[in-house]
């Protein structure tokens, strides 16, 4: 079927700016992804899945200008001993990175997976993304698979002593970065992956994660504090029996961020938690789009998303739990809440459950509200200033999401950052 003219034009214009890297063994996957993009077209304003988020600047031919953000605070996770992998405007920087070697894990650049004949990575590249196109289309992810210019393949075979830290630096005001990572966590292996940094003026990032039976992946991401950056990210996670996936994202500022999480529980007794805390001020648009599919017995999934919005900021949550036929004893939970600090801000939520099994427990809730005046007065009556009391209540509101971070030291860093950011405002 032919695409609507506007979508066709936008897609053609965007594709004209891109060159498929000379990608060897991933060529087939990339060409298939390009065919998907051509068939679907890039997201447009009229697409149902983009009803609350204008995709224009994410699909435009060139990346919109984004000023570099100068910041006197140390980069996130700086105090942690970790294996650093640095990308500057979407290009791997060996000088800034640690040696890509650690016990229990092997890490390679995407461009090396062919010459090194890394089977699992060749077989995973583009596969989870392609699966994730059904039942909802995600053209920006397909675009990523087709044109990603860099990325890493992380193979976790043991329990590495340190987290793997992907650091994305922004150096050019018009950079347009497309990164694609593939991750395979073997049976019984466990790893923590950190991500932080603004990455580029416009960032399209895709991560495909395959967790084998009994494998565990912790993912903690910080996006902030740049005001002008734009990002569309996708994480596709396929989970085996008794595997665990826990992902938490902290977002502060950014003119447009769309984070999609597509999780498929394919083995029994698996546990998936995806959570996010975001603080937006002014010209800020943040979209969490989550799709969790239960396709096995006795799995647990949790979605916990909290947004604090002020000065006209917009928050979006589209979250779905799909329980397939036969996925009995599913325990699904989804909560999305916003704290609106003024009347100019808005929160748009679309929580969905679709259940085809009869022995499941699924709950979902979505709220938006203002600061609790009674609690505010209580704190003030004890001598706490309005501002400090508001900050305390704001942090308390975000706490349920931050509690999803299991590592206490990491959780503490996140809380400290939130406190700092709240104290400074913009």
């Amino acid at each position: 079927m032919a695409l609507p003219q506007a979508k066709q034009t936008a897609t053609d214009e965007r594709l004209a700016t891109l060159n498929m890297p000379d990608a060897g063994c991933t060529r087939k996957a990339r060409e298939a992804a390009l065919a998907r993009v051509c068939e679907m077209g890039l997201p447009g304003r009229r697409d149902e899945y983009w009803k609350y988020t204008q995709p224009d600047t994410l699909v435009s031919a060139d990346a919109p200008f984004a000023a570099l953000f100068h910041n006197d605070e140390p980069p996130m996770f700086d105090e942690f001993d970790r294996l650093k992998i640095v990308f500057i405007d979407g290009v791997f920087s060996p000088e800034d990175s640690d040696e890509l070697a650690m016990d229990g894990v092997s890490i390679d650049r995407l461009e090396d997976i062919c010459c090194k004949d890394i089977h699992w990575a060749k077989e995973l590249y583009g596969v989870l993304e392609a699966n994730g196109q059904n039942p909802v289309q995600r053209p920006l992810a397909a675009l990523n698979t087709a044109f990603a210019s860099d990325g890493v393949a992380i193979h976790v075979t043991g329990k590495p002593a340190k987290p793997i830290s992907l650091i994305y630096r922004h150096a050019s005001e018009t950079s347009d970065a497309i990164l694609h990572h593939v991750v395979r966590v073997e049976s019984g292996a466990e790893v923590t992956i950190l991500e932080n940094g603004p990455a580029a003026s416009r960032f399209n990032k895709c991560m495909e994660i395959d967790i084998a039976d009994g494998g565990t992946l912790h993912h903690i991401r910080a996006q902030g504090r740049d005001h002008q950056r734009r990002a569309a990210t996708h994480m596709f996670t396929r989970m085996g029996t008794e595997s665990v996936y826990k992902s938490f994202t902290l977002t502060v500022n950014g003119v447009l961020t769309r984070n999609e999480q597509v999780v498929e529980l394919t083995g029994d007794d698996a546990v998936a938690h995806v959570a996010g805390a975001c603080v937006g001020d002014g010209e800020f648009h943040h979209d969490d789009t989550v799709f969790v599919t239960h396709d096995a017995v006795n799995c647990e999934s949790r979605q916990v998303f909290k947004k604090v919005l002020r000065n006209g900021a917009t928050g979006v949550f589209q979250g779905k739990i799909l329980v397939k036929e036969g996925a009995q004893k599913t325990d699904g939970y989804q909560i999305s809440q916003s704290l609106l600090l003024d009347e100019d801000s808005q929160f748009l939520a679309k929580p969905e459950l679709e259940i085809y099994a009869d022995d499941v427990a699924c709950s979902h809730g979505s709220t938006s509200g203002a600061i609790d005046e009674t609690a505010l007065f209580y704190l003030r009556s004890r001598g706490v200033s309005v501002r400090e009391a508001t900050n305390m209540l704001t942090l308390a509101f975000l706490a349920e999401a931050v509690q999803e971070v299991e590592d206490e030291a990491l959780a503490e860093v996140i809380v400290t950052r939130l406190q700092d950011w709240l104290a400074r405002r913009r």
Binding site: F377, R382, G383, M392, A399
Partner: protein
């Protein structure tokens, strides 16, 4: 110390006059009790003194040691020495009790130009005071008032009072929801704070709290005014005869 003159207050939303000319002076070192039937304006008086939104002062004044309370924000009143023990202490999920206490203590110290308490000094002090009120370590760690029983909430109010060392303590029906043992514990906490420099305004429905916290003066409030004042014997009179006789006598 606390001087209230001809205080008239109405509810902003309902345009309803609640206080219709309250005159009251609480001297330092004294305990004044206010009793009165439901709807007489007792709780309104406590909220207006502590600065809660939703009330409009249409006439009169309220000062603490000469400072105009009505012009101040709630946190400024707290720093000036006003403390309200709430009838219904507020639950605040996500804020640890200890964090809350430390923030409050240090905010007030800062407002008064004092140095913040060190973490160690604070901990030492809070532990000693909590112990006297039979508040265990777990209660200090939990979120403010969340999952606390009625008695625990009221003991927590008294702990805050003990930590903040206010000049003017207002207790709004602190006895409600307390069993006999809890009432005794709370009263002991209050009595421990009685000293020459501190005034108390104890709002209650029942005389029995006043068996434990002995008042110097008892006021009867009805329809937005203090209609009768006397010694502790006035509370006993109410206990035996109810308010009807007193109100009939006044009218």
């Amino acid at each position: 110390m606390l001087d209230i003159k001809n205080l008239h207050v109405k509810l902003e939303e309902e345009d309803k006059q609640i206080l219709k000319g309250v005159d009251l002076t609480v001297e330092a070192g004294k305990v004044h009790a206010i009793m009165g039937p439901n709807g007489s304006g007792k709780s309104t008086l406590s909220y207006v003194l502590s600065g809660r939104d939703g009330y409009e002062v249409t006439d009169g004044t309220a000062t603490l040691n000469g400072e105009d309370l009505l012009e101040m924000e709630p946190e400024e009143r707290a720093a000036a020495g006003v403390f309200l023990a709430f009838q219904y202490p507020v639950e605040i999920p996500g804020v640890g009790n200890m964090t809350f206490l430390r923030t409050a203590v240090n905010a007030q110290r800062k407002a008064r130009g004092q140095d913040e308490l060190s973490a160690a000094d604070f901990l030492k002090e809070v532990r000693a005071k909590a112990k006297a009120l039979k508040i265990d370590a777990d209660m200090l760690k939990r979120p403010v008032n969340v999952g606390f029983s009625g008695g625990e909430k009221k003991r927590n109010e008294i702990l805050q009072m003990a930590m903040l060392e206010p000049k003017m303590c207002i207790l709004d029906e602190t006895d409600s929801g307390l069993d006999v043992d809890a009432m005794k514990l709370v009263s002991e906490g209050v009595n421990a704070l009685r000293d020459e420099g501190r005034g108390f305004l104890v709002i209650t429905h029942y005389q029995r709290l006043l068996d434990h916290i002995k008042p110097d003066v008892v006021h009867i409030m009805a329809d937005g005014r203090i209609v009768k004042s006397g010694g502790p014997e006035l509370a006993l009179e109410v206990e035996h005869n109810g308010y009807a006789d007193i109100l009939a006598e006044v009218n």
